[in-house]
Symmetry: C2
Subunit: 302 residues, 2 copies
């Protein structure tokens, strides 16, 4: 199960009801925070998220609208009495920025704060635990930037109901079957797992790509993902500005989605110059039909 | 004229409708920002403040709830195309923190950003312009902290209406009189300024004291000010916690106000543990009667 909560999906500067980038990805109950613009902790409170559930934070790049809220969140964890470790994955420099501020405020965290600094321009696997894997997606922006590919391998075998319906099985039996175990019936007979189950679901994949210029090399990395978030700061009428600032247009995001043959595309990182967001959908649909808009404080099933 | 807009008056961590410390002081149209907790730029937008009007920012100390919003505001000024200089007054270290973040984001400001770093433990005058003076008020907190005393000298002489009512004077005449000039009447006669005016109003004084332990040495500096903001993070029931964290209680703030013989006291920097703020007033009134509560997004005339 993957559930994506958009905490902020606007670019540049935060405004009332227009928060800068942050997302909370829930994979089978494990919470991954992706980027952390100013005010993210307030958005988390509004969403009634339990702060202690966040164990891993991924920062794409060191532009303010993607990480100025990180130091505040780290400080708040301390004030809330956090004891469990926090892992921060982000570009080289992030450790220096955070620790400098902790130094001057004499507010060292009383929980382990582990930095995993990134500097490779090649995709690398940076997290692997409980069937969940996170790999970087190198992007092309004004400064060193990574997107992130989240993969969740399903470990549970699927129940073959066409067969199990013939038996009178208990919930305990079903739980055993999902784990790959064979079961003992009351009459003493044993039925092997393979006769009652099917292979687990294919892995679920979520790709987060922000911020980036139209960048075809990333296509290979995100091919056929279930859900792609791709920035679309601009519309085509501002394509020159997109090029200059190394951002994408809605049409370009859709081209990437189409070429990578993804199942669904979400657009976000909108410039504040556009009041009507429907135009982003209209423009993207020229290339790719299954497209939706990110929206602050809204949750999406992947 | 002094007008104080409270942008945030809560301590520790920002929550919805409970913003951390920031205030905007308007002295005859000049805007002074005092402290800048996370999300201050969003509070400024809600208050419809014109960002370009802010030319001077005063940071009391380097705890997050007083300055984590500064880097975001500085970045937003750049994105808004600011050209006029910005002056930041704050503890030694503030320049390193801000410039490190600008370095990693490759986002140097295209307006002059001047840091005035403070390290003296004695009161000093750090700003003087157009009859407005700002002096530091050394406080006693866990890290190096200053309050700020704002003094506005009125340069305009007061019209002595008991006398001017005898003449048929124009608005232009009144303007000349306020500037200290003598006036020419239509019949050719001259009336000297001193016969028509009184001395200017005494200077207006606003003292900002946050964060601090109960600290009697500051009394001399704030004697008889028109308006004192003094932190009261806690109530007396938590006086041990106040001592341990080097904060004040409402009663202690009132004692300072009484001993300094100030005209009015405002309490703020409330801990999130108290839902009913009226108790702060009740406790303070034991020592000092003219006391009010700070409130986010509310404006007060000084």
């Amino acid at each position: 199960m993957m559930k994506l909560l958009i905490l902020g999906c606007h670019s540049a500067t935060p405004r009332e009801n227009k928060h800068t980038t942050s997302q909370l990805l829930d994979i089978n109950g494990s919470m991954f925070l992706i980027d952390c613009g100013e005010g993210t902790q307030m958005q988390l409170r509004k969403s009634k998220v339990k702060f202690s559930q966040i164990k891993n934070i991924f920062i794409s790049h060191l532009h303010g609208d993607h990480f100025y809220g990180l130091i505040g969140l780290i400080s708040t964890f301390r004030l809330l009495g956090r004891e469990s470790p926090l892992n921060v994955y982000g570009p080289k420099g992030i450790k220096e920025i955070i620790t400098l501020q902790l130094k001057f405020s004499k507010s060292w965290t009383n929980y382990p704060l582990n930095f995993h600094e990134l500097s490779s321009t090649q995709s690398e696997c940076i997290f692997e635990e409980d069937g969940i894997k996170v790999e970087t997606i190198p992007l092309d922006h004004r400064i060193y930037t990574n997107g992130f590919l989240f993969t969740s391998e399903s470990e549970k075998r699927k129940i073959n109901t066409a067969v199990t319906d013939k038996y009178n099985l208990s919930p305990f039996h079903f739980s055993q079957l999902q784990k790959g175990m064979s079961i003992n019936l009351e009459d003493g007979s044993i039925i092997k797992n393979k006769f009652l189950t099917l292979l687990p679901d294919p892995p679920l994949k979520y790709a987060y790509c922000s911020d980036t210029l139209y960048h075809e090399p990333l296509i290979e990395k995100i091919r056929k993902v279930d859900f792609l978030y791709h920035e679309s700061t601009f519309l085509e009428i501002h394509s020159e500005l997109a090029l200059k600032t190394k951002h994408s247009t809605a049409l370009q995001a859709a081209k990437i989605a189409k070429k990578a043959n993804v199942k669904k595309l979400m657009l976000g990182h909108f410039s504040n110059r556009y009041s009507d967001k429907q135009v982003f959908i209209d423009e993207a649909k020229i290339e790719f039909n299954n497209v939706i808009l990110a929206e602050d404080l809204k949750t999406f099933m992947i």
